[in-house]
């Protein structure tokens, strides 16, 4: 099977594995980009093609389809932030984020949804961000869709997704078929472990190879530590290599100078980098208002095998409850892939109860409800702080308002799963049980104590923390992702989102970054 990464390296791509460096290094380029995910990867291609010399930095390693092992025990430590063990400060929410070349796009489940109109309306009202008329993101969504082969999934949903669809049909709830960024997908269900056949059109196999073919440099296994800045300009980026466990190590210093600096390390790491750099923060919003789409999980047992590990992980979603007429917290309904570790760590109970559920692994249908945070006063997200090692911790308080939404989400998922034909349903909650009918589940879930550690919460979408706003008093960057105070610094990742989205974020990031990279290239050309 062709491996575009190994082929590119053989052609002479400029790749430096920082973990192998043993003395200080200095580099220079027109533009340095920290992070190679949806934001950094796309920006690298656009800016290289615009004629700029680009250096990309990535904390993770350069892994390709020849390296990916189709087992969670390899994928989580090597492709995910903190070995997939990242959590909020009080450990109340588990967070999945990619950490490898291509970032989360290398391991995400390919769901591609344009920014909901309600979200854009809210941004205009609250943050002065008018993405309409000549500022519309639609042309950029079209460009990204063309570049990454984003289109509606035409194959039959796997049975895990089909249960979501059937339940919606039975109850008359809204549902949509998901658009996916794939080309030649064999419906394997391995997206979260790195696509072994390069069908997923992640940054790893699309924009990053183009940038490297265009002369860009990639430095992997490197941790960006801080920007040195003076007055209104960044003067240098300081970084260090990481060790075999991806921990920053001392002894070798890397300094990179550039005309322009782009932070694109994701919505936890970018605010952390800016906090370590002590950049100006007159709005006080740096690291604040970090959103997660905190997600509830509901398991269901079906008489027939569901095999939720096989087939496209996400191909159907329901927006029935995303934008409720009440002030309650909205939530989006989707399903996750069902692999052994992901399931075993989330399933309720221990000993025989847990083992009994795991033995019915193939008959488990699993649903998730993503709470839409960042809109109501009572759901203002979390705060990125630095620990004593300078590493980020996300303090995300769990409010009564959020738990009220969580209960509604568990109820909706149970109703849907029974409507789809489940024999029994169990909310993933320390006090949850297997319930054999919707009335029984409804009564039990209505009485569950909704509290931290008892209610299992997870997230795969981190947003905010360096939010954009037209007015410098309300945000860290402007509508073009340019830092309000430091003129040669941009932020091109999910941290610029002023709220969560009510949709999976990758396509929103592609649209924004395509627009902002193009504007940045024009500005840099005009200022040479």
């Amino acid at each position: 099977m062709d491996d575009p990464i190994r082929q590119g390296l053989a052609r002479g791509w400029k790749h430096i594995d920082a973990a192998t460096l043993n003395k200080d290094q200095q580099y220079e380029a027109d533009i340095v980009i920290v992070g190679t995910g949806a934001g950094g990867g796309l920006a690298a291609e656009i800016l290289t093609q615009a004629g700029f010399s680009v250096i990309m930095l990535e904390h993770g390693a350069l892994n390709s389809s020849s390296d990916f092992k189709q087992q969670e025990r390899w994928a989580y430590p090597h492709l995910y932030q903190d070995g997939a063990g990242r959590k909020t400060k009080d450990q109340g929410i588990a967070i999945l984020q990619g950490r490898t070349v291509g970032g989360s796009t290398t391991v995400n489940w390919t769901t591609s949804i344009r920014t909901p109109k309600n979200t854009l309306d809210y941004w205009r009202e609250q943050f002065g961000l008018d993405f309409s008329a000549e500022n519309s993101l639609e042309p950029f969504f079209d460009l990204a869709s063309g570049r990454l082969n984003i289109s509606e999934w035409r194959m039959s949903p796997n049975l895990n997704n089909l249960a979501l669809q059937r339940g919606c049909e039975k109850l008359g709830w809204q549902y949509s078929i998901i658009h996916r960024n794939v080309n030649g997908c064999a419906n394997l269900g391995l997206c979260g472990l790195g696509c072994p056949i390069n069908a997923k059109q992640s940054m790893l196999v699309t924009t990053i190879p183009t940038a490297l073919d265009g002369g860009a440099t990639l430095i992997s296994r490197v941790s960006a530590r801080h920007f040195a800045w003076q007055d209104d300009k960044v003067q240098a980026l300081h970084a260090v290599p990481v060790d075999e466990h991806y921990q920053p190590r001392s002894g070798v210093n890397i300094q990179i100078k550039a005309r322009h600096y782009i932070a694109a390390g994701g919505a936890i790491n970018t605010p952390a980098l800016l906090l370590r750099s002590k950049v100006p923060n007159p709005s006080g919003r740096l690291g604040k208002h970090t959103y997660l789409h905190p997600s509830l999980i509901s398991g269901a047992l079906f008489a027939e095998p569901i095999n939720g590990h096989a087939g496209a992980p996400q191909s159907v979603y329901s927006d029935q409850f995303v934008w409720p007429e009440s002030d309650n917290m909205g939530f989006k309904l989707e399903v996750p892939p069902v692999h052994p570790v992901l399931m075993a760590t989330k399933l309720i109970g221990m000993a025989e109860q847990h083992a009994h559920l795991m033995k019915q692994f193939n008959n488990l249908q699993v649903m998730i409800a993503l709470l839409r945070d960042g809109f109501a006063e009572q759901a203002q997200g979390g705060t990125v702080e630095l620990d004593s090692h300078g590493e980020p911790q996300l303090d995300y308080p769990l409010t009564d308002y959020l738990f009220a939404g969580a209960r509604e989400a568990l109820l909706a998922m149970a109703e849907l799963q029974f409507a789809a034909g489940a024999k029994a349903v169990m909310p993933i909650h320390a006090d949850g049980q297997l319930y054999k009918s919707w009335p029984e589940a409804k009564a039990a879930i209505s009485a569950l104590p909704m509290a931290i550690y008892r209610t299992t919460l997870a997230s795969a979408h981190v947003m905010g923390g360096s939010n954009m706003a037209a007015d410098a008093s309300k945000g860290v960057v402007d509508m073009q992702g340019r830092h309000h105070q430091l003129k040669n610094l941009s932020v091109f990742d999910g941290s610029t989102l002023p709220t969560s989205l009510g949709a999976n974020p990758q396509l929103t990031i592609y649209g924004l970054v395509w627009r902002n990279s193009t504007l940045l290239a024009n500005w840099l050309h005009g200022n040479q």
């Binding site: 847990h354 193939n362 090692h389």
Partner: protein
């Protein structure tokens, strides 16, 4: 206060002090004693957590327990350093408390502590009013279940097989 409540309370107080104020035992304990403590804690809880999942054959079950302990130990360095330090602190304290529990129950060693009692200890943490004990329960459970179900030889009961494009190991 019964014996379990006493253990829970003293353990909670120990954890509170350790995570909130000082990392003294971690800073003074050698790398090897930290690993020994972790292994002892894993050895104590794995047979309880995995009851019903382990094969009936004793020798095979022992092999799976050792493989799981090894996988859990190998995973720890991928966690953030702060989290590693907190876990190391937890393991050192648990090692002491488990030993005390075994001795106060007139068992000659931790290995003789009945599995049901180990499960009761875990349930006690899960249902504790102390956040730190609840965290300890959630963290240990996740780490150990992840380490067990990450391994193909343990998938037989699941009837699950991973498609293999590139060989592991």
């Amino acid at each position: 206060m019964n014996r379990r409540q006493f253990i829970m309370t003293s353990l909670g107080a120990g954890l509170g002090l350790s995570l909130g104020i000082t990392l003294y035992p971690v800073l003074t304990a050698s790398q090897s004693s930290q690993q020994t403590a972790a292994e002892m804690v894993f050895d104590a809880f794995l047979p309880a957590l995995l009851m019903g999942a382990l094969p009936a054959d004793h020798q095979l079950a022992q092999q799976q327990l050792l493989a799981t302990r090894k996988a859990a130990i190998e995973f720890l360095p991928f966690l953030p350093v702060t989290q590693q330090q907190q876990l190391a602190q937890l393991f050192l304290l648990l090692e002491q408390e488990l030993t005390r529990l075994a001795l106060s129950g007139n068992w000659l060693s931790l290995a003789e502590l009945p599995v049901q009692q180990r499960l009761s200890l875990l349930s006690g943490w899960r249902d504790s009013y102390l956040a730190l004990l609840q965290q300890a329960y959630c963290g240990l459970r996740e780490l150990l279940f992840g380490a067990y179900y990450g391994q193909p030889p343990h998938w037989a009961a699941l009837n699950y097989q991973a498609v293999e494009f590139n060989r592991y190991g």
